[in-house]
Every structure is written in structure tokens, then in C-alpha cells.
């Protein structure tokens, strides 16, 4: 949330000035951490359901790789992890005041993130053609719900990243104010972490 014409030369990357000490970070960062708490609970509901249903009714599942394409999804997982690396690089760049580096690494993150979504969509189409649909049973129900909502969150993340990238091109971020970059970075890492968990329990077990 950058703004022109700050009347005082205070540091927006610090907590609000003149207030009782709180979390020790600026509002937007605290807000994102708190918001991610709700996201943890959301995925807990979905993943918890999956665990309960699978433990109670294991025969409804097929062995890993029998239905799902593990190799291509493994590559996709690697890509998503790479996009977290590019995000870290973008963050490091703007911290140093390297604005061209920021723009470059943000674009990389957007591209890799979009590729991840694209591959997921391609995989869905392939699975549906094969007859593996949400209504096929517990396996399909849980697979599509968990990965679908993860994909939805990644898509929202990509849209926000595009917005942040556009603002970066407008020169809105600097070494003195890179809040937007840090905050979307936090969200992006979270989405990546959820995927690592999902990939493990859905594709590998």
C-alpha cells in the first residue's frame, strides 16, 4: 500500500509509529500472517476429511500412480518450488534496491506459477477423459476437492502476483517500501507449502 507525499519521513516497513508495541512488524505483514491462519484451518478441514475417509475405507483408493500421473506432477511440484525460489530472489532484489532484478524475478514467478496451474488443468482434463471424476467415489471426491481448492488458491496468487508485478513496473516499490512484495511472497510460500503436503499424501501414498 504505497502512497505519495508522506508528510513525515517515517519508515512504513516498521509497525505503526506512536502506538503501543504490538507484533513488531508492519500491519500488512501481521495481517497476512493472521489471514494465513484461516487458510491453514480451511485446508485442515479438507485434508482432515481425506485422512478420516481414507483410514476408514482404504479400498476406495488406488495405489499411487495407478490413476494419477505422478512423474509429471512431480515435475510440476519442482516447478512450484522453483517459483518460491524466484519469489525469494525478487524479495532479496527489492530489499537491495535492485528494481530491475525485482521485475525480472517477479515475471519469472508469474510465469512458473501460471505454468503450474496450466499443467494442473491439463492433468484434470486428462483424468476426466479417463473417467476419473469427482463422483467416482471417495478417491475422486477427495482428490478433486483438495487439489481443486489448492489450484484455486494458486490462481488467486498468480492474479495477485500479476498485480504486484504491474506495480513493480510502475515503480511503486523500493528498498524503502516493498510491503506488497513481502506480503504476496508470504502467501505464495504458503500455497507452495500446502502443495508439498498435498503432493505427498495424495500422489505418493
Amino acid at each position: 500500500m504505497a502512497h505519495a507525499g508522506a508528510l513525515h519521513d517515517e519508515d512504513v516497513m516498521l509497525p505503526p509509529p506512536g502506538r503501543e508495541p504490538g507484533a513488531g512488524v508492519y500491519n500488512e505483514k501481521l495481517g497476512m500472517w493472521v489471514f494465513l491462519g484461516s487458510e491453514i484451518m480451511f485446508f485442515t478441514a479438507l485434508i482432515g476429511t481425506y485422512i478420516i475417509l481414507r483410514v476408514a475405507h482404504p479400498t476406495a483408493w488406488k495405489a499411487p500412480g495407478e490413476v494419477l500421473a505422478v512423474p509429471i506432477t512431480a515435475i510440476n511440484t519442482f516447478l512450484l518450488i522453483c517459483s518460491s525460489v524466484t519469489m525469494v530472489k525478487a524479495f532479496a532484489a527489492v530489499q537491495d534496491g535492485n528494481l530491475s532484478g525485482l521485475r525480472k524475478w517477479l515475471i519469472a514467478t508469474v510465469l512458473i506459477g501460471s505454468t503450474f496451474v496450466g499443467v494442473q488443468v491439463y492433468e484434470y482434463r486428462h483424468l476426466i477423459e479417463k473417467g476419473f471424476v469427482p463422483s467416482e467415489g471417495l478417491y475422486g471426491s477427495t482428490f478433486y476437492t483438495m487439489t481443486g481448492f489448492h489450484g484455486f488458491h494458486v490462481t488467486i496468487g498468480v492474479i495477485c502476483l500479476i498485480f504486484v508485478t504491474w506495480r513493480a513496473f510502475q515503480g511503486r516499490y523500493s528498498a524503502k517500501d516493498y510491503r506488497g512484495v513481502e506480503v504476496i511472497g508470504l502467501y505464495w510460500h504458503f500455497v507452495d507449502l500446502v502443495w508439498i503436503i498435498l503432493f505427498t499424501i495424495v500422489y505418493l501414498i
Binding site: 513525515h8 502506538r19 503501543e20 469427482p134
Partner: protein
């Protein structure tokens, strides 16, 4: 920090927080980012839904009191609901569902969290607004379509959702079992949208309270209303997503053929119950904690005395917030889950009675040795203590698993939930609306009509809900369209009639409150800055406060309830009033 909100430039850091307001009418009152306006927007929306929920209750009570009789004015209802004014069984099931849904999600929760969370938090902690004013605006404007979606269900084929506000599967997911298809789907979508609104609000409140307290507003100087709203916001943040997840799965079962809760392909009906109540129990603490917090503020004010045991009151709020996550199975004792689990939930439920009991004792302790002013908010707050006690005590019967075998799903439960939600939450809401009305609107509500409303409400309320305990003990089940189908219920049918007549009178009495509210807005006595001689920071600014709230950042010197302090002649001492060096700010902690 300079933030641009609309056309108003705000500056903190010891400078002015309030500047000339050049916003347009739309930016000031419709798409406003001002927490006070958003709070009032939630107030209007919630009061409308409270009224609607009450209307639905009147139709329920008509059918229960006078089964299968044509209702007065029933002719306005369509044939699908009440041909000839006689309520149909399917419509009855929708009525009980929507009464609960409207009251829980669109009335009580937004009244406590959306209205008073928004209105009070920045003012009482000494902040110019919430941490994220635009997200705050979004939170309200997302709740509005959720409301419309929930209303729409009455107009679709098959009628509105009819599986109870608890929406148990498989009834809620199979149109062939419930007779309802689109209505259940709209119910689900509406609550998903509302959940987003709530979650956006919650992280805003949490960030604001953590990071934006004025200098000197230490954690243990926060008023209990703010402590309770803080813990409530954490509960909303963590519990609403569980509901969203569960409802998404229900929606998928309803629409794309997934198998989460239907046993045909290995799904589990009990899974819905576990998910729903894992959300649902923290939800009921969401519905009571802010009421408790505001009641504390008002009781200390009315008694002109510090809250008895402030630290324990804070610990009790935290205790309820934490323990509330471990009791959800007490809604499921008869569900068929393993009885050993039942014993575990019984234990955790017994324990959670303790912090609530502590609060009741401390409210009494606050009144003890006080100098009690019986202003209208105090009347409602004392009724809150009295009625909440009844609700809490009745809870012990159902926590004892063997007794719950008998009273589960009877009117004993209905009595309990209404004593805590109406006797508790709603009386606290009446207290809070009356108390903060002058700050919100710059006018006082009529004290005379406030008293009339209070006394009549108190009497009729108890006539409606107290006998429900006895109905339940007689074995009267919940959610039944026609009790006279059962021989054993015929002898208690006169009690149903008494309850229904009292309910009609109770509803009619609320018109007094509605008229008082509306008329006072235009014709009420102009309110001074601090009509209740209260210590809170909101009473140190004009009524209503300007955009940005405080001309200079307040400096807080003391705890929130320093009434009858020996260090000043008045019997109140605002948190930000500076005293000469020689006078200490508060007594040493006893």
C-alpha cells in the same frame, strides 16, 4: 504514517488524526471505509434480519400453539407454504431451519462482531480506524449479497432449506429425502460468501488490536469488551474456514455427485456432524463472548465500581476461547459415535462450565458494594447476568451424558439455547445498542420507552422460554410440526399455547424498541460527549466522533474501570485523563 483514505489525509505521530472531510456522500455513507459507518451499516442489516427471524418464529409458534389452524394474515403466504393460511409440514421444516439460520448467522453474529467489533475496537483502543479500512468496507459489502442469497431461498421451487440450521447429512444433501434442492444449495452458497466476509473482518480486528493500541493502552488495560472481541475474532478466523470447508463438501455432494457424507460409496454422515460442530461449538462462544465483554463494561459503569477480578475475567475469556475447541462432541452424544468419546467430551464440557461461572460471580462481585445506577443499559446487563446463569446451569443437565440421553433433541435444549442466545446475547445487545447509541447517532434513546421495552421483554421472554424446560422434561421433541400426533404430548399442549401467546406479545413488544430506535435517531435528546460518565476512550470524543476519531493520539494512563477512585472527586476517571504527579493512577493491585 500518512495514509490516504478517500480525500482525507490522516497523519499520526503526535500530529492531528482528524482533518477536513471532503468525501462525497457515497464515499461517506455508502461505500465508506470508516469503521463507524460500517458498524452502523451492519447494525441496520442485522436488525432487519433479527426482525425477519422473529417473524419466522411467530409462524412457528402459531403452528405449535394452534396446530393446523389458519393463521391470521396467513392468506398472504403462497399455497406451497400455507394453503388457506394453514402451515404445511414442509414449510414448517423450512421455518425452523431459517429461523435458526437467520438468527445465528445474520442477526446475533453480525450484531456482536460486525457492529460492535467495528464500532468499538478503534475507538476504545485509541486508533483512528481499523488497520485495513478498505478490507473492512469489503467485509460489509460481501455480507450483503450473502444476505440476499439467503433470502432468495424462499422464492425457489422446493422452498428453502429444511434440514435444520445444523443441516445434517444425508438429509441436507439429498433432494429426494428433504424435498428441497435449490434452497439447500442457496443456503450453502450464502454461508460460504458470508464466511468470506467474516474472515476478512476477523484478521482486520486482530491486526488492529495487536498493532494499533494507543500509547499506554497495555494489554491489561484493555476494556473487557475489547478482550472479548479479540478472542472472538480469533475464533472466527479459525472456525469459519472449517464451516466453509464442510459446506463446500456438502455443496459438492449436492451438485457434482461427490460422496463425502452419503454412505452409499463409503461417505460418512457423522463426518458432517464432526466438521459442523468443530466449527459450531466455537461459533456459540463467538455468539456469547462479545456479549459478556460488553456486559462487563456496562455493569462496571452502572455500579460505578471497578470490575471485580479483572485479570480473572481476562483469563476466563482466554480459557473459554481455548477450551471451546475441545467440547464439540457434546452435541453428538446420541450420534452413534463411540461412547468412550462421549465420556471424554463430557469431561471437557464440565470443565468449560468453570470459566463461565467465574464470570457470573465476578459480575455479582462488581455490583457488591457498588453505587448502582439503573440506567436502561444496566437493566439489560443485569438481566443478561440473570438469564445467562439460567442458560449456563441448564447446560449442566445436558453435559451429564446419561441425562442427555433423555433430554437431547427435546425442548429442554431449545430452552437452554434460547436462554444463552436471547437471555444472554440479545439482552446484552439491547444493553449495548442503548449504551452506544448516543455515541453512534449523537442522540439519546428515550429512557422511558427503554424501560417499558425492558420490563415487558423480560416478563414475556421468561413466559416463552422458561416453560420450554418443562416441555422438554416431559419428552417434547424438537422440530416437530404437530405435537398432538403423540398421545404423551397431548397433556402439555396447553403449555405450547401459553408459550405461543407469550411469544406473540414478546414480538409485539419489540416494536417499542424499533420505534424508539428510529424516532430517537431524528428526535432524541442531543447526546453530550459522555452521557453515561464512562471511562472509555470513545467517550472523550464528540458524539458522533469525526472521521479519524481523535484529534490527537490519546495517551492512556490507567486500567479501564477506575470508577469511584479516591484520587478524584467524580466517580469516574477516564483512561486518558492525566493526573498530577503526586496522585497515583490506580490502587495497587489487590
Amino acid at each position: 504514517m500518512a495514509t490516504t483514505i478517500g480525500h482525507v489525509e490522516e497523519v499520526t505521530l503526535g500530529g492531528a488524526e482528524v482533518h477536513a472531510d471532503t468525501r462525497s456522500f457515497v464515499r461517506k455513507y455508502i461505500f465508506s471505509t470508516d469503521h463507524k459507518i460500517i458498524g452502523i451499516q451492519f447494525l441496520i442489516m442485522s436488525l432487519i434480519f433479527l426482525l425477519l427471524g422473529g417473524v419466522l418464529a411467530m409462524v412457528i409458534r402459531w403452528q405449535l400453539g394452534f396446530p393446523k389452524q389458519p393463521m391470521p394474515m396467513g392468506g398472504v403466504l403462497p399455497e406451497t407454504m400455507a394453503p388457506g393460511g394453514v402451515v404445511l409440514p414442509e414449510f414448517y421444516n423450512s421455518l425452523v431451519t431459517m429461523h435458526g439460520t437467520f438468527m445465528v448467522f445474520f442477526a446475533i453474529m453480525p450484531l456482536l462482531v460486525g457492529v460492535f467489533g467495528n464500532y468499538l475496537i478503534p475507538l476504545k483502543i485509541g486508533a483512528p480506524d481499523m488497520a485495513f479500512p478498505r478490507i473492512n468496507m469489503a467485509s460489509f459489502w460481501i455480507a450483503v449479497p450473502a444476505g440476499f442469497l439467503m433470502l432468495a431461498g424462499f422464492f425457489v421451487e422446493g422452498g428453502h432449506a429444511a434440514a435444520g440450521w445444523t443441516s445434517y447429512a444425508p438429509l441436507s444433501e439429498r433432494a429426494d429425502l428433504s424435498g428441497v434442492s435449490m434452497g439447500q444449495i442457496l443456503w450453502c452458497i450464502s454461508l460460504i460468501v458470508l464466511g468470506l466476509s467474516s474472515i476478512l473482518g476477523s484478521f482486520n480486528y486482530i491486526t488492529t488490536i495487536i498493532n494499533m493500541r494507543a500509547p499506554g493502552m497495555w494489554w491489561f488495560r484493555l476494556p473487557l469488551s475489547i478482550w472479548s472481541l479479540f478472542v472472538t475474532a480469533i475464533l472466527v478466523l479459525l472456525a469459519m474456514p472449517i464451516l466453509s470447508g464442510a459446506i463446500i463438501m456438502l455443496l459438492f455432494d449436492q451438485t457434482i455427485g461427490t460422496h463425502f457424507f452419503g454412505p452409499a460409496q463409503g461417505g460418512q454422515p457423522l463426518l458432517w456432524q464432526h466438521l459442523f460442530w468443530f466449527f459450531g461449538h466455537p461459533e456459540v462462544y463467538i455468539l456469547i463472548l462479545p456479549a459478556m465483554g460488553m456486559a462487563s463494561d456496562i455493569i462496571a459503569n452502572g455500579a460505578r465500581k471497578p470490575i471485580f477480578g479483572y485479570t480473572s475475567m481476562v483469563l476466563a475469556i482466554l480459557g473459554i476461547g481455548v477450551l471451546g475447541w475441545g467440547v464439540w462432541g457434546h452435541h453428538m452424544f446420541m450420534s452413534g459415535m463411540n461412547p468412550t468419546l462421549g465420556t471424554q467430551f463430557m469431561i471437557s464440557t464440565m470443565l468449560i462450565a468453570v470459566p463461565s461461572a467465574i464470570k457470573v460471580f465476578n459480575w455479582l462481585g462488581t455490583m457488591w458494594m457498588g453505587n448502582i445506577r439503573f440506567h436502561v443499559p444496566m437493566l439489560h446487563a443485569m438481566a443478561f447476568v440473570s438469564m445467562f446463569t439460567i442458560g449456563g446451569l441448564s447446560g449442566i443437565f445436558m453435559a451429564a451424558t446419561p441425562v442427555d440421553i433423555y433430554i437431547h433433541y427435546t425442548y429442554f435444549i431449545v430452552a437452554h439455547l434460547h436462554y444463552v442466545l436471547f437471555g444472554g446475547s440479545l439482552f446484552a445487545i439491547f444493553a449495548a445498542v442503548t449504551f452506544w447509541y448516543p455515541k453512534m447517532f449523537g442522540r439519546m434513546m428515550s429512557p422511558f420507552w427503554g424501560r417499558v421495552h425492558f420490563f415487558l421483554t423480560f416478563i414475556f421472554y421468561n413466559l416463552v422460554f422458561f416453560p420450554m424446560h418443562n416441555l422438554g422434561l416431559h419428552g417434547h421433541m424438537r422440530r416437530i410440526y404437530d405435537p398432538t400426533q403423540y398421545d404423551f404430548l397431548k397433556p402439555v399442549q396447553p403449555i405450547n399455547e401459553l408459550i405461543s401467546i407469550s411469544a406473540f406479545l414478546l414480538f409485539a413488544t419489540q416494536l417499542i424498541f424499533a420505534v424508539n430506535f428510529i424516532v430517537s435517531w431524528f428526535k432524541g435528546a442531543k447526546a453530550p460527549e459522555n452521557p453515561w460518565e464512562d471511562n472509555g476512550l470513545e467517550w472523550t470524543v464528540p458524539s458522533p466522533p469525526p472521521h479519524g476519531n481523535f484529534v490527537t493520539v490519546p495517551q492512556v494512563y490507567r486500567a479501564p474501570y477506575e470508577y469511584s477512585s479516591p484520587f478524584v472527586t467524580e466517580d469516574f476517571l477516564p483512561q486518558n485523563r492525566e493526573l498530577p504527579e503526586a496522585a497515583p493512577s490506580a490502587a495497587p493491585h489487590s
